[in-house]
Symmetry: C2
Subunit: 365 residues, 2 copies
């Protein structure tokens, strides 16, 4: 691992997207989205994924210069055709439309079709905060997750993000996959040579397993809750809901038809919609009660829960968003830790687009 | 257990609510809500709870003749003051407002304050289906659940329901507590003298436990996922979101201030809002794409997932709503199974309100 300055990484990322042909402001938004993932500790969705987007673009499965358009709308809703653009660009665009609608109608809800992987869900939801709005963001994703009682990979990790503003307290931010864990946690165990807890994945026949490599052997991830006895059917419900909101409402591909992010897997030949789908929402707080009043109560909510009695052996109780904020503070100061393979990837990308990658390691800690 | 005809129970329930002073149509709605719980197999939220509502009314913690009013609104939102009415009445009223708003604005979102326990979440969400709308329903509830890393009971089982229409397939219906299990499942284990699986509850110090009586000994329920390793922090996020949407947006009590349903517990003397809170939403499907097109794709979604490969040892894969629908078909025919204690309760209620309870047991199976 080498720590690289986060601002440098963002600038580099933006130049790669510009190199692909993205307009400057869109390249900057996309770079900001990947950079926020790195800063918030979601390493799998940050700059490490940049070469993946480039490969999809090279295969023409991603359009660097999309002409996005609203294909249907009402006062509080819209459907956006993303023209096969980067989700890192189409989702913020959709969120902006949701915010504009919320200004007038109280809430705004935009379903996106014909898009690609949109990075971390939380980035888009957090756009609403500065407008005293609650932001909601969800997306479907490449199928890796089995419905309860099944061994078919029919759902993605289908995340849900919700960002809620507070007054003096930091905002309340949920950003969660609807599975027990994200794939990245399995990779950590693989590197350590450790087994996975029961409830994370199942083998190819749908049996419980602790094999950290089960996904690579045809197994599947389990919905939040794990098996039926531990409420896994509820995680299945949530993942299914995200799939339907993101893709059946928008006209994108759903379930097993969602095109894979990785370039070495071909998209299904038969399609039931266009690209992958997202669903973004903005709720104006003062469409319900005065924003100052709401935010004062959010401060009270947050302080109350932060002061809950810790369980035996625990030091403190966290508020959604706390862990990511602490990582951000650290990484802004000490840089983003990157694997040598990621750095090699970035150097190669730099060569490809004539953008020198000459990062000086930050001396961390 | 004795099986009682469901239509008879509904009629009886309605007459008890009328006896409390509820207007006839409201009594009927409330009775229908409890009846649907029984028909869908959510025994804890059906007629077994009728005497609980009566006790709250006797203590004047529930108003049988509420004058509900909209205290704030925008084209797609409203806040309803439930005037301390039955949640079984205020929530359907709020859902009706949401549906009306969705007709014009595309979506409608109503937060309710000053309400009481609203029965099963799914009943209210399902009201949207006949209008080709997606229904969403959530509520906060008496605190029994500890945030991750805590031993404080700060959240309710805070359910989320989502009802989505299909064409020839039955609708897709989620109705789930944001905890690993509902309290009723612990009571089943207690009757059988069995232990609970790890991940359902914790003891009063916040340690893992398999004691099915842990809640009665000062322990707490765990959010969906169970402990941190199995994603319990995600269930905590969901329960917290439901609390904030239902109560901080509406101006109701949240977190530890939510008044208890059971009459033997006093509400907190200090309050941070009015009554308990709900959040209802209606999304017009054709605010996104033609309803027929959406519903055809829902049929395809449902059929695809129902035909997923069963895991080893499983016979079939279920769609959200399937299990409840099967129970309904059975109970419509064979009656609602009631414990002798519940029947005794109903007989006493009948005496109190001059409504004879003379149910003839259905001969089941």
């Amino acid at each position: 691992m080498t720590n690289i300055d986060s601002a440098y990484l963002k600038e580099f990322t933006s130049r790669i997207f510009t190199g692909m042909g993205c307009p400057a402001t869109e390249a900057e938004t996309a770079a900001e989205c990947l950079n926020q993932a790195d800063l918030r500790g979601v390493d799998s969705h940050g700059v490490a994924r940049l070469s993946g987007y480039v490969r999809l673009w090279e295969l023409k499965r991603l359009n660097a210069t999309p002409i996005m358009k609203i294909i249907h709308e009402t006062p509080s809703t819209a459907v956006l055709d993303g023209d096969l653009g980067l989700g890192l660009v189409t989702a913020p665009h959709a969120m902006q439309i949701a915010i504009e609608k919320a200004r007038i109608a109280g809430t705004g809800w935009v379903a996106v079709q014909n898009s690609n992987h949109y990075g971390i869900a939380g980035f888009h939801a957090m756009m609403a905060l500065q407008h005293d709005m609650i932001g909601i963001s969800m997306t479907n994703a490449s199928p890796l997750v089995a419905p309860t009682f099944s061994r078919s990979r029919f759902l993605g990790t289908n995340p849900i993000a919700v960002a809620i503003p507070a007054l003096n307290q930091p905002p309340f931010i949920i950003d969660m996959a609807t599975t027990t864990v994200a794939n990245g946690k399995l990779e950590v165990l693989q590197r350590k040579g450790q087994d996975a807890p029961l409830g994370w994945t199942q083998d190819k026949d749908g049996n419980p397993t602790t094999d950290a490599y089960s996904l690579k052997k045809g197994g599947s991830m389990l919905p939040l809750g794990g098996d039926r006895e531990h409420g896994g059917h509820k995680g299945y419900c949530l993942g299914a809901m995200v799939d339907i909101f993101s893709a059946v409402l928008s006209g994108a591909n759903y379930g097993p038809w969602v095109p894979p992010f990785v370039s070495f897997l071909e998209p299904p030949t038969h399609q039931v919609g266009n690209g992958i789908g997202h669903f973004l929402g903005a709720i104006r707080v003062d469409a319900f009660r005065p924003a100052s009043e709401f935010k004062e109560h959010m401060d009270n909510w947050i302080q109350t829960f932060r002061n809950a009695e810790p369980a035996s052996g625990q030091e403190r109780v966290l508020i959604p968003g706390d862990p990511e904020r602490e990582i951000t503070a650290d990484r802004l100061k000490n840089g983003i830790p990157l694997h040598e393979q990621v750095i090699k990837d970035l150097e190669e990308l730099g060569k490809k687009f004539g953008v020198d990658f000459h990062a000086t390691p930050v001396n961390p800690y």
